[in-house]
Protein backbone atom coordinates (compact mmCIF):
# COMPACT_ATOMS: atom_id res chain seq x y z
CA UNK A 1 0.00 0.00 0.00
CA UNK A 2 1.14 3.45 -0.82
CA UNK A 3 2.76 4.94 2.27
CA UNK A 4 1.56 8.47 1.71
CA UNK A 5 -2.01 7.30 1.61
CA UNK A 6 -2.04 5.71 4.99
CA UNK A 7 -4.01 7.64 7.57
CA UNK A 8 -1.61 9.78 9.48
CA UNK A 9 -1.88 10.44 13.17
CA UNK A 10 -2.62 14.05 12.37
CA UNK A 11 -5.45 13.22 9.98
CA UNK A 12 -6.95 10.88 12.52
CA UNK A 13 -7.00 13.61 15.15
CA UNK A 14 -8.77 16.04 12.87
CA UNK A 15 -11.06 13.32 11.59
CA UNK A 16 -12.16 12.74 15.17
CA UNK A 17 -12.69 16.46 15.66
CA UNK A 18 -14.75 16.56 12.51
CA UNK A 19 -16.89 13.68 13.68
CA UNK A 20 -17.53 15.49 16.92
CA UNK A 21 -18.92 18.38 14.95
CA UNK A 22 -15.94 20.72 15.18
CA UNK A 23 -15.56 22.96 12.16
CA UNK A 24 -11.81 23.12 12.76
CA UNK A 25 -11.68 19.46 11.79
CA UNK A 26 -13.24 20.18 8.43
CA UNK A 27 -11.04 23.23 8.00
CA UNK A 28 -7.95 21.09 8.35
CA UNK A 29 -8.94 18.84 5.45
CA UNK A 30 -9.99 21.81 3.40
CA UNK A 31 -6.63 23.55 3.82
CA UNK A 32 -4.76 20.36 3.19
CA UNK A 33 -6.49 19.21 0.04
CA UNK A 34 -8.17 22.18 -1.59
CA UNK A 35 -5.20 22.91 -3.89
CA UNK A 36 -4.96 19.35 -5.12
CA UNK A 37 -8.71 19.04 -5.46
CA UNK A 38 -8.93 22.24 -7.43
CA UNK A 39 -6.19 21.17 -9.79
CA UNK A 40 -7.73 17.73 -10.14
CA UNK A 41 -11.17 19.21 -10.71
CA UNK A 42 -9.92 21.61 -13.33
CA UNK A 43 -8.55 18.61 -15.16
CA UNK A 44 -12.10 17.35 -15.50
CA UNK A 45 -14.29 20.43 -15.76
CA UNK A 46 -12.19 23.35 -16.93
CA UNK A 47 -14.68 25.87 -15.60
CA UNK A 48 -13.40 27.41 -12.43
CA UNK A 49 -16.87 28.23 -11.09
CA UNK A 50 -18.07 24.70 -11.55
CA UNK A 51 -15.05 23.30 -9.80
CA UNK A 52 -15.36 25.71 -6.89
CA UNK A 53 -19.05 25.00 -6.48
CA UNK A 54 -18.39 21.29 -6.61
CA UNK A 55 -15.62 21.59 -4.01
CA UNK A 56 -17.99 23.52 -1.77
CA UNK A 57 -20.60 20.79 -2.10
CA UNK A 58 -18.03 18.10 -1.44
CA UNK A 59 -17.01 19.65 1.86
CA UNK A 60 -20.59 20.35 2.87
CA UNK A 61 -21.39 16.70 2.16
CA UNK A 62 -18.41 15.58 4.18
CA UNK A 63 -19.78 17.68 7.05
CA UNK A 64 -23.32 16.47 6.63
CA UNK A 65 -22.46 12.80 6.41
CA UNK A 66 -19.53 12.86 8.82
CA UNK A 67 -21.22 10.41 11.11
CA UNK A 68 -22.07 7.99 8.37
CA UNK A 69 -18.59 7.76 6.93
CA UNK A 70 -16.45 4.91 8.14
CA UNK A 71 -13.46 6.11 10.16
CA UNK A 72 -11.07 3.96 8.24
CA UNK A 73 -11.89 5.70 4.98
CA UNK A 74 -9.10 7.62 3.34
CA UNK A 75 -10.25 11.17 3.46
CA UNK A 76 -8.17 12.14 0.46
CA UNK A 77 -9.53 9.41 -1.77
CA UNK A 78 -13.02 10.08 -0.47
CA UNK A 79 -12.79 13.76 -1.38
CA UNK A 80 -11.46 12.99 -4.85
CA UNK A 81 -14.21 10.51 -5.41
CA UNK A 82 -16.95 12.92 -4.40
CA UNK A 83 -15.49 15.69 -6.51
CA UNK A 84 -15.11 13.47 -9.56
CA UNK A 85 -18.68 12.24 -9.13
CA UNK A 86 -20.12 15.73 -8.96
CA UNK A 87 -18.14 16.99 -11.91
CA UNK A 88 -18.99 14.03 -14.10
CA UNK A 89 -22.65 14.52 -13.26
CA UNK A 90 -22.40 18.19 -14.14
CA UNK A 91 -20.62 17.35 -17.36
CA UNK A 92 -23.50 15.10 -18.33
CA UNK A 93 -25.99 17.89 -17.68
CA UNK A 94 -24.30 20.52 -19.76
CA UNK A 95 -23.01 18.35 -22.49
CA UNK A 96 -25.04 20.47 -24.89
CA UNK A 97 -23.27 23.70 -24.20
CA UNK A 98 -19.86 22.21 -24.34
CA UNK A 99 -17.85 25.32 -24.87
CA UNK A 100 -14.36 26.35 -24.10
CA UNK A 101 -14.59 27.88 -20.70
CA UNK A 102 -11.63 30.15 -21.06
CA UNK A 103 -13.84 33.18 -20.44
CA UNK A 104 -14.21 32.11 -16.86
CA UNK A 105 -10.59 31.62 -16.21
CA UNK A 106 -9.67 34.82 -14.54
CA UNK A 107 -6.94 34.42 -12.06
CA UNK A 108 -5.43 31.04 -12.18
CA UNK A 109 -1.96 30.50 -13.37
CA UNK A 110 -1.09 27.68 -15.62
CA UNK A 111 1.93 25.85 -14.48
CA UNK A 112 3.23 23.33 -16.91
CA UNK A 113 5.46 21.18 -14.88
CA UNK A 114 6.50 17.85 -16.23
CA UNK A 115 7.68 14.87 -14.34
CA UNK A 116 10.85 15.40 -16.22
CA UNK A 117 12.00 18.02 -13.79
CA UNK A 118 12.60 15.21 -11.37
CA UNK A 119 15.32 13.89 -13.60
CA UNK A 120 18.66 15.48 -14.09
CA UNK A 121 20.53 15.90 -17.34
CA UNK A 122 17.71 15.18 -19.65
CA UNK A 123 17.46 17.04 -22.88
CA UNK A 124 14.36 19.08 -23.11
CA UNK A 125 12.37 18.25 -26.14
CA UNK A 126 9.86 21.03 -25.86
CA UNK A 127 7.98 20.14 -28.99
CA UNK A 128 7.20 16.76 -27.47
CA UNK A 129 5.79 18.35 -24.39
CA UNK A 130 3.64 20.71 -26.41
CA UNK A 131 2.27 17.82 -28.35
CA UNK A 132 1.41 16.01 -25.16
CA UNK A 133 -0.32 19.07 -23.70
CA UNK A 134 -2.57 19.14 -26.74
CA UNK A 135 -3.02 15.39 -26.60
CA UNK A 136 -4.16 15.45 -22.99
CA UNK A 137 -6.36 18.43 -23.69
CA UNK A 138 -8.20 16.47 -26.33
CA UNK A 139 -8.84 13.43 -24.16
CA UNK A 140 -12.39 12.72 -22.99
CA UNK A 141 -13.04 13.87 -19.40
CA UNK A 142 -13.04 10.45 -17.82
CA UNK A 143 -9.81 9.41 -19.51
CA UNK A 144 -8.22 12.64 -18.40
CA UNK A 145 -9.35 12.04 -14.83
CA UNK A 146 -7.89 8.56 -14.80
CA UNK A 147 -4.57 9.84 -16.11
CA UNK A 148 -4.62 12.54 -13.44
CA UNK A 149 -5.25 10.03 -10.68
CA UNK A 150 -2.66 7.56 -11.81
CA UNK A 151 0.17 9.78 -12.89
CA UNK A 152 -0.17 13.00 -10.97
CA UNK A 153 -1.99 12.14 -7.78
CA UNK A 154 -0.19 8.83 -7.35
CA UNK A 155 -3.32 6.85 -6.67
CA UNK A 156 -3.18 3.11 -7.23
CA UNK A 157 -5.46 1.38 -9.73
CA UNK A 158 -7.70 0.26 -6.90
CA UNK A 159 -8.00 3.75 -5.49
CA UNK A 160 -8.52 5.22 -8.93
CA UNK A 161 -11.30 2.78 -9.65
CA UNK A 162 -12.99 3.79 -6.40
CA UNK A 163 -12.62 7.46 -7.15
CA UNK A 164 -14.03 6.98 -10.62
CA UNK A 165 -16.70 4.66 -9.30
CA UNK A 166 -15.98 2.03 -11.93
CA UNK A 167 -14.45 -1.42 -11.71
CA UNK A 168 -10.75 -2.18 -12.01
CA UNK A 169 -11.01 -3.50 -15.54
CA UNK A 170 -12.78 -0.37 -16.78
CA UNK A 171 -10.21 1.77 -15.04
CA UNK A 172 -7.46 -0.02 -16.83
CA UNK A 173 -9.31 0.16 -20.13
CA UNK A 174 -9.82 3.91 -19.78
CA UNK A 175 -6.17 4.43 -18.96
CA UNK A 176 -5.14 2.20 -21.81
CA UNK A 177 -7.23 4.15 -24.29
CA UNK A 178 -5.85 7.43 -22.99
CA UNK A 179 -2.25 6.34 -23.33
CA UNK A 180 -3.11 4.98 -26.77
CA UNK A 181 -4.22 8.43 -27.90
CA UNK A 182 -1.15 10.04 -26.40
CA UNK A 183 0.99 7.57 -28.29
CA UNK A 184 -0.68 8.53 -31.55
CA UNK A 185 0.20 12.15 -30.97
CA UNK A 186 3.86 11.31 -30.56
CA UNK A 187 4.33 8.86 -33.38
Amino acid sequence: MNAQLQISEEELTYWTLLKEGEQSGLRFFYEKYVDDLFSFGMGIAKCEHQVKDAIQEVFLDLWKYRNKINSSVLVKAYLYKCLANKLFKLAKVDKKNKSVHSDYMEDWELLVESSESKLINIQIESHLKEKLVKAIESLPDRQKAVINCLFFEDFSYEETSQIMNINLRSTYTLAWKAVGSLKKYLS
Binding site: L26, D35, L111, S114, F151, F152, W176
Partner: protein, 361 residues
Protein backbone atom coordinates in the same frame (compact mmCIF):
# COMPACT_ATOMS: atom_id res chain seq x y z
CA UNK B 1 -0.23 -11.77 -17.40
CA UNK B 2 3.02 -12.12 -19.20
CA UNK B 3 4.82 -8.96 -20.03
CA UNK B 4 6.26 -10.48 -23.19
CA UNK B 5 3.40 -9.09 -25.26
CA UNK B 6 3.50 -5.66 -23.72
CA UNK B 7 2.56 -2.74 -25.88
CA UNK B 8 3.54 0.89 -25.35
CA UNK B 9 0.32 1.42 -23.41
CA UNK B 10 1.06 -1.46 -21.09
CA UNK B 11 4.52 -0.18 -20.34
CA UNK B 12 3.25 3.29 -19.55
CA UNK B 13 0.57 1.91 -17.29
CA UNK B 14 2.81 -0.51 -15.44
CA UNK B 15 3.68 0.96 -12.02
CA UNK B 16 6.88 -1.15 -11.95
CA UNK B 17 7.93 0.34 -15.24
CA UNK B 18 7.38 3.84 -13.87
CA UNK B 19 9.49 2.96 -10.87
CA UNK B 20 12.33 2.18 -13.19
CA UNK B 21 11.94 5.31 -15.31
CA UNK B 22 11.35 7.83 -12.55
CA UNK B 23 12.94 6.46 -9.44
CA UNK B 24 15.56 4.19 -10.90
CA UNK B 25 14.53 1.72 -8.25
CA UNK B 26 17.27 -1.02 -8.12
CA UNK B 27 14.84 -3.95 -8.25
CA UNK B 28 12.89 -2.43 -11.09
CA UNK B 29 16.09 -1.57 -12.87
CA UNK B 30 17.37 -5.13 -12.66
CA UNK B 31 14.04 -6.48 -13.85
CA UNK B 32 13.64 -4.22 -16.87
CA UNK B 33 17.26 -4.54 -17.95
CA UNK B 34 16.96 -8.28 -18.05
CA UNK B 35 13.61 -7.88 -19.78
CA UNK B 36 15.33 -5.86 -22.50
CA UNK B 37 17.91 -8.60 -22.91
CA UNK B 38 15.19 -11.21 -23.31
CA UNK B 39 13.00 -9.10 -25.55
CA UNK B 40 15.22 -6.88 -27.66
CA UNK B 41 12.35 -6.46 -30.11
CA UNK B 42 10.57 -4.33 -27.48
CA UNK B 43 13.19 -1.60 -27.51
CA UNK B 44 11.17 0.78 -29.62
CA UNK B 45 8.03 0.37 -27.57
CA UNK B 46 9.96 0.94 -24.37
CA UNK B 47 11.60 3.99 -25.83
CA UNK B 48 8.24 5.51 -26.78
CA UNK B 49 6.70 4.63 -23.44
CA UNK B 50 9.53 6.37 -21.68
CA UNK B 51 9.09 9.45 -23.85
CA UNK B 52 5.41 9.66 -23.03
CA UNK B 53 6.04 9.28 -19.36
CA UNK B 54 8.80 11.81 -18.96
CA UNK B 55 7.11 14.42 -21.09
CA UNK B 56 3.68 13.99 -19.69
CA UNK B 57 2.73 17.54 -18.83
CA UNK B 58 1.20 18.18 -15.50
CA UNK B 59 -0.90 21.26 -15.65
CA UNK B 60 -1.22 22.40 -12.13
CA UNK B 61 -4.10 24.83 -11.99
CA UNK B 62 -3.79 26.98 -8.98
CA UNK B 63 -6.56 28.45 -6.96
CA UNK B 64 -5.82 31.94 -5.68
CA UNK B 65 -5.54 32.55 -1.96
CA UNK B 66 -8.51 34.92 -2.03
CA UNK B 67 -10.62 32.39 -3.86
CA UNK B 68 -9.57 29.77 -1.35
CA UNK B 69 -10.62 31.97 1.56
CA UNK B 70 -13.93 33.00 0.08
CA UNK B 71 -14.68 29.40 -0.83
CA UNK B 72 -14.12 28.41 2.78
CA UNK B 73 -16.38 31.25 3.85
CA UNK B 74 -19.23 29.85 1.80
CA UNK B 75 -18.63 26.36 3.13
CA UNK B 76 -18.64 27.64 6.68
CA UNK B 77 -21.83 29.58 6.06
CA UNK B 78 -23.42 26.53 4.53
CA UNK B 79 -22.61 24.59 7.68
CA UNK B 80 -24.06 27.25 9.96
CA UNK B 81 -27.20 27.36 7.94
CA UNK B 82 -27.51 23.61 8.00
CA UNK B 83 -26.95 23.34 11.73
CA UNK B 84 -29.51 26.06 12.30
CA UNK B 85 -32.02 24.00 10.40
CA UNK B 86 -31.11 20.96 12.45
CA UNK B 87 -31.41 22.46 15.91
CA UNK B 88 -34.95 23.20 15.02
CA UNK B 89 -36.75 24.02 18.18
CA UNK B 90 -38.22 21.11 19.97
CA UNK B 91 -40.19 20.81 23.10
CA UNK B 92 -38.88 18.46 25.72
CA UNK B 93 -41.22 17.46 28.45
CA UNK B 94 -39.83 17.45 31.92
CA UNK B 95 -41.45 14.20 32.85
CA UNK B 96 -43.74 11.56 31.52
CA UNK B 97 -46.62 12.65 33.66
CA UNK B 98 -46.61 16.04 32.08
CA UNK B 99 -46.29 14.44 28.66
CA UNK B 100 -49.52 12.58 29.22
CA UNK B 101 -51.19 15.71 30.47
CA UNK B 102 -49.93 17.62 27.49
CA UNK B 103 -51.34 14.99 25.19
CA UNK B 104 -54.74 15.34 26.80
CA UNK B 105 -54.58 19.09 26.52
CA UNK B 106 -53.39 19.01 22.96
CA UNK B 107 -56.19 16.78 21.84
CA UNK B 108 -58.70 19.30 23.01
CA UNK B 109 -56.73 22.35 21.95
CA UNK B 110 -55.21 21.24 18.69
CA UNK B 111 -57.72 22.84 16.43
CA UNK B 112 -57.77 25.99 18.45
CA UNK B 113 -53.98 26.34 18.46
CA UNK B 114 -53.69 25.71 14.76
CA UNK B 115 -56.30 28.33 14.19
CA UNK B 116 -54.53 30.74 16.51
CA UNK B 117 -51.22 30.18 14.78
CA UNK B 118 -52.72 30.88 11.42
CA UNK B 119 -54.28 34.04 12.70
CA UNK B 120 -50.97 35.06 14.25
CA UNK B 121 -49.10 34.42 11.03
CA UNK B 122 -51.63 36.34 9.01
CA UNK B 123 -51.57 39.21 11.48
CA UNK B 124 -47.80 39.39 11.38
CA UNK B 125 -47.87 39.21 7.61
CA UNK B 126 -50.40 42.00 7.45
CA UNK B 127 -48.43 43.99 9.99
CA UNK B 128 -45.18 43.56 8.12
CA UNK B 129 -46.76 44.37 4.79
CA UNK B 130 -48.23 47.48 6.35
CA UNK B 131 -44.90 48.34 7.88
CA UNK B 132 -43.04 47.97 4.66
CA UNK B 133 -45.67 49.84 2.73
CA UNK B 134 -45.39 52.84 5.00
CA UNK B 135 -41.65 52.53 4.90
CA UNK B 136 -41.54 52.32 1.13
CA UNK B 137 -43.35 55.62 0.83
CA UNK B 138 -40.17 57.23 2.03
CA UNK B 139 -37.69 54.97 0.32
CA UNK B 140 -39.57 53.72 -2.63
CA UNK B 141 -36.43 52.51 -4.33
CA UNK B 142 -34.80 50.15 -1.91
CA UNK B 143 -37.33 47.50 -1.19
CA UNK B 144 -36.76 43.93 -2.03
CA UNK B 145 -38.61 42.75 0.99
CA UNK B 146 -39.04 39.31 2.34
CA UNK B 147 -42.70 39.14 3.16
CA UNK B 148 -42.80 35.65 4.48
CA UNK B 149 -42.64 35.77 8.24
CA UNK B 150 -43.19 32.43 9.84
CA UNK B 151 -44.14 32.64 13.46
CA UNK B 152 -42.88 29.93 15.74
CA UNK B 153 -45.01 29.31 18.80
CA UNK B 154 -44.11 27.11 21.73
CA UNK B 155 -46.33 26.65 24.65
CA UNK B 156 -46.44 24.67 27.81
CA UNK B 157 -50.09 24.08 28.64
CA UNK B 158 -51.13 24.20 32.28
CA UNK B 159 -49.64 21.26 34.08
CA UNK B 160 -46.70 20.96 31.73
CA UNK B 161 -43.23 22.49 31.77
CA UNK B 162 -41.01 22.40 28.76
CA UNK B 163 -37.52 23.19 27.60
CA UNK B 164 -36.90 24.73 24.23
CA UNK B 165 -33.61 25.27 22.46
CA UNK B 166 -33.89 28.15 20.06
CA UNK B 167 -32.12 28.21 16.73
CA UNK B 168 -29.44 30.58 18.04
CA UNK B 169 -28.60 28.15 20.83
CA UNK B 170 -30.42 30.03 23.57
CA UNK B 171 -32.47 27.95 25.96
CA UNK B 172 -35.89 28.71 27.25
CA UNK B 173 -37.49 26.88 30.15
CA UNK B 174 -41.19 27.43 30.02
CA UNK B 175 -43.29 27.15 33.12
CA UNK B 176 -46.76 25.63 32.99
CA UNK B 177 -49.34 27.69 31.20
CA UNK B 178 -46.74 29.79 29.40
CA UNK B 179 -46.03 30.56 25.81
CA UNK B 180 -43.33 32.13 23.67
CA UNK B 181 -43.60 33.19 20.07
CA UNK B 182 -41.05 34.59 17.68
CA UNK B 183 -40.36 35.03 14.00
CA UNK B 184 -38.64 31.95 12.68
CA UNK B 185 -34.95 32.55 12.10
CA UNK B 186 -35.09 35.84 14.00
CA UNK B 187 -33.50 38.65 11.98
CA UNK B 188 -29.94 39.77 11.29
CA UNK B 189 -30.04 42.37 14.00
CA UNK B 190 -32.46 41.17 16.62
CA UNK B 191 -33.68 38.11 18.48
CA UNK B 192 -37.16 39.17 19.50
CA UNK B 193 -39.54 37.00 21.48
CA UNK B 194 -42.94 37.48 23.03
CA UNK B 195 -43.57 35.84 26.34
CA UNK B 196 -46.83 35.10 28.10
CA UNK B 197 -46.52 33.47 31.47
CA UNK B 198 -43.20 32.51 32.98
CA UNK B 199 -39.91 31.54 31.42
CA UNK B 200 -36.29 31.26 32.35
CA UNK B 201 -33.93 32.32 29.57
CA UNK B 202 -30.35 31.27 29.07
CA UNK B 203 -29.26 33.53 26.27
CA UNK B 204 -26.57 32.39 23.85
CA UNK B 205 -23.97 35.10 23.45
CA UNK B 206 -24.30 37.11 20.26
CA UNK B 207 -23.18 40.71 20.49
CA UNK B 208 -24.54 41.60 17.08
CA UNK B 209 -28.06 40.44 17.85
CA UNK B 210 -29.55 41.55 21.15
CA UNK B 211 -32.00 39.15 22.70
CA UNK B 212 -35.23 40.93 23.54
CA UNK B 213 -38.14 39.45 25.45
CA UNK B 214 -41.37 41.39 25.27
CA UNK B 215 -44.02 41.11 27.91
CA UNK B 216 -46.76 43.57 27.14
CA UNK B 217 -45.19 47.00 26.99
CA UNK B 218 -42.11 45.90 28.89
CA UNK B 219 -39.07 44.70 27.01
CA UNK B 220 -36.04 43.01 28.51
CA UNK B 221 -32.87 43.22 26.45
CA UNK B 222 -29.84 41.00 26.90
CA UNK B 223 -26.75 39.97 25.01
CA UNK B 224 -25.75 36.80 26.79
CA UNK B 225 -27.24 36.25 30.20
CA UNK B 226 -29.73 34.22 32.13
CA UNK B 227 -32.86 35.65 33.62
CA UNK B 228 -36.34 34.77 34.66
CA UNK B 229 -39.49 36.57 33.61
CA UNK B 230 -42.88 35.97 35.08
CA UNK B 231 -45.87 37.69 33.56
CA UNK B 232 -49.04 35.77 34.08
CA UNK B 233 -52.25 37.52 33.13
CA UNK B 234 -53.61 39.52 36.01
CA UNK B 235 -50.36 39.33 37.89
CA UNK B 236 -47.53 41.84 37.99
CA UNK B 237 -44.54 41.32 35.73
CA UNK B 238 -41.42 40.25 37.51
CA UNK B 239 -37.99 40.11 35.92
CA UNK B 240 -35.11 38.54 37.80
CA UNK B 241 -31.54 38.55 36.58
CA UNK B 242 -29.38 35.58 37.46
CA UNK B 243 -26.18 36.27 35.48
CA UNK B 244 -24.94 38.99 33.14
CA UNK B 245 -26.65 42.30 32.52
CA UNK B 246 -30.05 43.13 31.14
CA UNK B 247 -31.80 46.32 30.22
CA UNK B 248 -35.48 46.53 31.10
CA UNK B 249 -37.56 49.09 29.26
CA UNK B 250 -41.13 50.26 29.46
CA UNK B 251 -41.80 53.19 27.17
CA UNK B 252 -39.25 55.83 28.09
CA UNK B 253 -38.41 54.36 31.46
CA UNK B 254 -35.48 52.01 31.57
CA UNK B 255 -33.45 50.25 34.19
CA UNK B 256 -30.27 48.21 34.06
CA UNK B 257 -30.24 45.11 36.20
CA UNK B 258 -27.22 43.49 37.77
CA UNK B 259 -27.15 39.86 38.91
CA UNK B 260 -29.37 39.30 41.92
CA UNK B 261 -31.52 42.30 41.06
CA UNK B 262 -35.08 42.11 39.91
CA UNK B 263 -37.95 44.31 38.88
CA UNK B 264 -41.58 43.98 39.71
CA UNK B 265 -43.77 45.97 37.38
CA UNK B 266 -47.45 46.53 37.75
CA UNK B 267 -49.53 45.90 34.70
CA UNK B 268 -52.05 48.59 35.67
CA UNK B 269 -49.72 51.56 35.54
CA UNK B 270 -46.19 51.99 34.28
CA UNK B 271 -44.71 52.05 37.74
CA UNK B 272 -42.20 49.47 38.86
CA UNK B 273 -39.89 48.80 41.71
CA UNK B 274 -36.43 47.39 41.74
CA UNK B 275 -35.54 44.90 44.41
CA UNK B 276 -33.21 42.10 45.29
CA UNK B 277 -34.73 38.70 44.85
CA UNK B 278 -34.30 35.26 46.27
CA UNK B 279 -32.84 33.10 43.49
CA UNK B 280 -34.09 29.91 45.08
CA UNK B 281 -37.61 31.15 45.24
CA UNK B 282 -37.69 32.71 41.78
CA UNK B 283 -36.22 29.70 40.03
CA UNK B 284 -37.89 27.11 42.21
CA UNK B 285 -40.37 26.22 39.48
CA UNK B 286 -37.52 24.80 37.45
CA UNK B 287 -36.81 22.30 40.22
CA UNK B 288 -40.48 21.39 40.28
CA UNK B 289 -40.71 23.25 43.54
CA UNK B 290 -43.62 25.44 44.50
CA UNK B 291 -42.83 28.09 47.06
CA UNK B 292 -45.35 30.30 48.78
CA UNK B 293 -44.09 33.00 51.11
CA UNK B 294 -46.89 35.03 52.56
CA UNK B 295 -48.58 34.70 49.23
CA UNK B 296 -52.17 35.93 49.03
CA UNK B 297 -54.43 32.92 48.70
CA UNK B 298 -55.93 33.91 45.35
CA UNK B 299 -52.46 34.23 43.82
CA UNK B 300 -51.44 30.88 45.24
CA UNK B 301 -54.49 29.24 43.77
CA UNK B 302 -53.75 30.78 40.36
CA UNK B 303 -50.31 29.25 40.59
CA UNK B 304 -51.75 25.87 41.47
CA UNK B 305 -54.17 26.05 38.56
CA UNK B 306 -51.34 26.65 36.12
CA UNK B 307 -48.98 24.22 37.74
CA UNK B 308 -51.34 21.28 37.68
CA UNK B 309 -53.65 22.32 34.86
CA UNK B 310 -56.77 22.33 37.01
CA UNK B 311 -59.61 24.70 37.78
CA UNK B 312 -60.04 25.77 41.35
CA UNK B 313 -63.53 26.69 42.34
CA UNK B 314 -64.22 28.54 45.57
CA UNK B 315 -67.53 27.52 47.00
CA UNK B 316 -67.60 30.47 49.34
CA UNK B 317 -65.68 33.72 49.73
CA UNK B 318 -61.95 33.63 50.20
CA UNK B 319 -61.25 35.22 53.58
CA UNK B 320 -59.59 38.60 53.24
CA UNK B 321 -55.88 38.80 53.89
CA UNK B 322 -55.49 35.03 53.82
CA UNK B 323 -51.81 34.37 53.16
CA UNK B 324 -50.14 31.01 52.63
CA UNK B 325 -46.58 29.87 53.08
CA UNK B 326 -44.96 26.59 52.27
CA UNK B 327 -42.45 24.81 50.06
CA UNK B 328 -43.52 21.83 48.03
CA UNK B 329 -40.94 19.93 46.02
CA UNK B 330 -42.37 17.64 43.39
CA UNK B 331 -45.51 17.13 45.42
CA UNK B 332 -48.87 16.01 44.15
CA UNK B 333 -51.79 18.44 44.13
CA UNK B 334 -53.52 16.32 46.69
CA UNK B 335 -50.61 16.58 49.13
CA UNK B 336 -50.25 20.32 48.63
CA UNK B 337 -53.95 20.87 49.19
CA UNK B 338 -53.80 18.71 52.27
CA UNK B 339 -50.84 20.72 53.56
CA UNK B 340 -52.51 24.05 52.94
CA UNK B 341 -55.91 23.02 54.22
CA UNK B 342 -54.69 22.76 57.83
CA UNK B 343 -53.21 26.25 58.05
CA UNK B 344 -55.82 27.93 55.87
CA UNK B 345 -58.73 26.07 57.31
CA UNK B 346 -60.54 24.77 54.26
CA UNK B 347 -62.02 21.58 52.97
CA UNK B 348 -61.37 20.46 49.45
CA UNK B 349 -62.64 17.97 46.96
CA UNK B 350 -60.86 16.78 43.81
CA UNK B 351 -63.12 15.89 40.89
CA UNK B 352 -61.12 15.22 37.74
CA UNK B 353 -59.77 18.58 36.70
CA UNK B 354 -61.90 20.49 39.15
CA UNK B 355 -60.94 21.39 42.68
CA UNK B 356 -63.65 22.57 45.01
CA UNK B 357 -62.59 24.54 48.02
CA UNK B 358 -64.84 25.33 50.89
CA UNK B 359 -63.56 27.59 53.66
CA UNK B 360 -64.57 26.68 57.15
CA UNK B 361 -66.42 29.37 58.99
Amino acid sequence: MSKANYTVEDFVLDPEFRKWIFKNNPEAKAYWESYLQKHPEKVQEIELARKILIHLPHEKKKISEEAKDSLWESISQGIDQESREQTDTKVVNLDSWSAIKQYEQEQSKKSRIAWKRKVAAVLILVASVGYFLTKSVRTAQEDTVEMVAEIEVHQAPPGVKSTITLEDGSKVFLNSGSKISYTKGFTDSLRLLQLEGEGYFEVAHDKSRPFVVQTGSISTTALGTSFNISSFPGDSVSISLVTGVVLVKNGDVEETLMPGEGIIASTQDSGWKKERFDVEQVLSWMNKTLIFKNTPFDRASLKLENWFGVDIVFENLVPNDLMVSGKFKDESLENILKGLSYSSRFEYELKGKQVYIHFKP
